[in-house]
Symmetry: C2
Subunit: 349 residues, 2 copies
């Protein structure tokens, strides 16, 4: 069993196993972009808290984190015999699963780790098998992202600019990411690619995480407010929109971060291709159409109050901040003045 090398994970992976196998090492995503803080977590309560407080976020990243968490809890266990050791780990798995019940990867990977545990007979055997399984889960995700990114690269060429929404990069997955994968892989190969990144209110994953990841990879990022996507497309500044997906219904209807559907409508209006990137496991066979997908509603305080520190975007990126835009007359039902409806057939006043 070999640790994942940096050539596999890329620099600064969001989730890895500590060298001694006795801690999960994560980037605390709530501290970005102001501070790059690494945390080493060795007990179940701190792991639960990391998921619950979004220190580790993104469904695939949470799944990888949970797998490493089970390996670590096996490695640090001080239970005297295998039966007690296994019971304690199963309790920990249930506890971690309850931290965010909606992230399907969390439950899937914990079940997979439990299955491995049940195939073991001794504590040393279980420790080795669980650690190996966690590495396998991590490697599989990297391979899946790489394949998605390769397909993505067939959709763009050097010189292109891509609009992004929320964060579907390495922090949310493993290496490369899904929605950001083609950009990161293309940049690695020397392609000239640029990004227009929607900040993604209310929690600003675009401003805080995507802009940070792309900027670190040397990709020129221009950060915009979500309501600036229309003017960016109207001026022909982007060649495509790349987003991730949280759940895909059998007819292709796709649930993703709030605002995605609006971007798709704008993209159609401006004839910009709109691509969704996701592992094939994101297809939910229990959802026939988007109408079957339940949308999580979150507290109004996320809108009313700013939870982040004053600076919400990394230093060194670009901004595009037009104060106004122009709405073409054919989109306006009527212009109402103090004289009533303005005649829109031409110069009338």
């Amino acid at each position: 069993m070999l640790y994942l090398a940096e050539t596999e994970t890329g620099a600064n992976p969001g989730v890895v196993l500590a060298e001694n196998g006795r801690a999960v090492r994560i980037i605390d995503q709530t501290q970005l972009p102001q501070r790059l803080v690494h945390l080493e977590l060795s007990n179940a309560p701190s792991m639960y808290e990391a998921i619950y407080k979004l220190r580790v976020r993104g469904a695939p990243a949470i799944g990888i984190f949970a797998a490493y968490a089970m390996a670590v809890l096996a490695n640090v266990s001080e239970e005297p015999d295998f039966a007690a050791f296994a019971r304690s780990l199963e309790r920990d798995a249930q506890y971690l699963e309850s931290s965010r019940p909606t992230a399907v990867n969390l439950s899937v990977q914990l079940k997979r780790m439990s299955h491995v545990l049940r195939g073991c007979k001794t504590i040393p055997e279980a420790r080795e098998a669980l650690t190996a399984e966690a590495f396998a889960i991590h490697r599989e995700d990297i391979a899946m992202n790489l394949a998605i990114s390769e397909f993505g690269l067939t959709l763009i060429k050097s010189g292109d600019a891509v609009m992004t929404h929320c964060n579907a990069g390495p922090l949310a997955t493993s290496r490369y990411g899904t929605g950001l994968g083609a950009l990161l892989l293309g940049a690695e190969r020397g392609m000239d690619l640029r990004a227009y990144t929607c900040e993604t209110r209310p929690l600003l994953q675009g401003a805080r995480l995507t802009a940070w990841e792309l900027h670190n990879a040397g990709i020129p990022v221009t950060l915009i407010c979500d309501n600036m996507a229309s003017i960016v497309m109207s001026r022909g500044l982007v060649n495509a929109v790349f987003v991730g997906a949280d759940r895909i219904a059998c007819n292709g209807d796709t649930a993703n971060k709030i605002g995605t559907s609006g971007l798709a409508i704008l993209a159609k209006h401006y004839r910009v291709p709109f691509y969704v990137f996701a592992p094939s496991t994101t297809l939910d066979p229990h959802c026939a159409t988007g109408a079957d997908i339940v949308i999580e509603e979150r507290p109004g305080e996320e809108i009313a109050e700013m939870h982040y520190t004053k600076r919400m975007a990394p230093e060194g990126i670009n901004f595009y901040n037009p104060a106004f835009d122009v709405t073409p007359h054919e989109l306006i039902t009527a212009i109402i003045t103090e004289k009533g409806k303005m005649n829109l057939d031409g110069v009338t006043q």
Copy 2:
């Protein structure tokens, strides 16, 4: 010459003349919604600063403010003779005009006040004439807004909900406003009207000002992030979109706060009527189409940093905070998985 009564201006007008005629009294819009702070301004530098720092904002409100400012500066002038008095006032007018060169109302109303000044022969005559002219400008704006609001009321009925963007209410104009006028006038008449208010990044005029004005008028407000407009329309939660306008080209193309064009595209997609409300003077005869309208670009810091205090919305309003939305498959060019393009013709995996 009579002062405007509260029955004319409504309660808490954003701009009025102090009772002694020696100060312009404004609501400091940068302090809302956390604090309702009134300022009394009696000298040109503080008046300049109020416009420049957006303590008073909204093109019509700035025009009214500038008119009262000239009356106040005439009333407090200590110049010994009429020639020096007039020269000093003309210098003040030029100085105030330079505070925000893009707001056309500022220049128009200052020119109108200068014209009145030039028709006078004595200091007492000028003081009386300038004060009367400022009251006239204020009254004209109120009348124009009332007429716009009456037309707006013909477009909605009791029970309707309206989506708003930025702030086109009393704070930005005089009483009632343009885009918010129909809602405020309808509420005054006992109609049951509701609003979905886009927060309007980056400066949050929707969250800070529109939500405050509508909530104070007893209109139920649901605040959303700008990227939530699509899901709100998709669920049939609004009957119309009402916005203001900063400049209208001769063909009807309309410049308004960033994000307006995106709302118009969404409204067309969801078949929601999209109405623009503005004084007829907003039509710019020098602009044939929207392509002739120059768009102001502002500093990136407005996006990168949060300039307002922690709480960005008034207490007591509603929020709608869906974390995801669903993009219909027909809007998606392709879904890319690790296996390549997903077949969108139905269940294929």
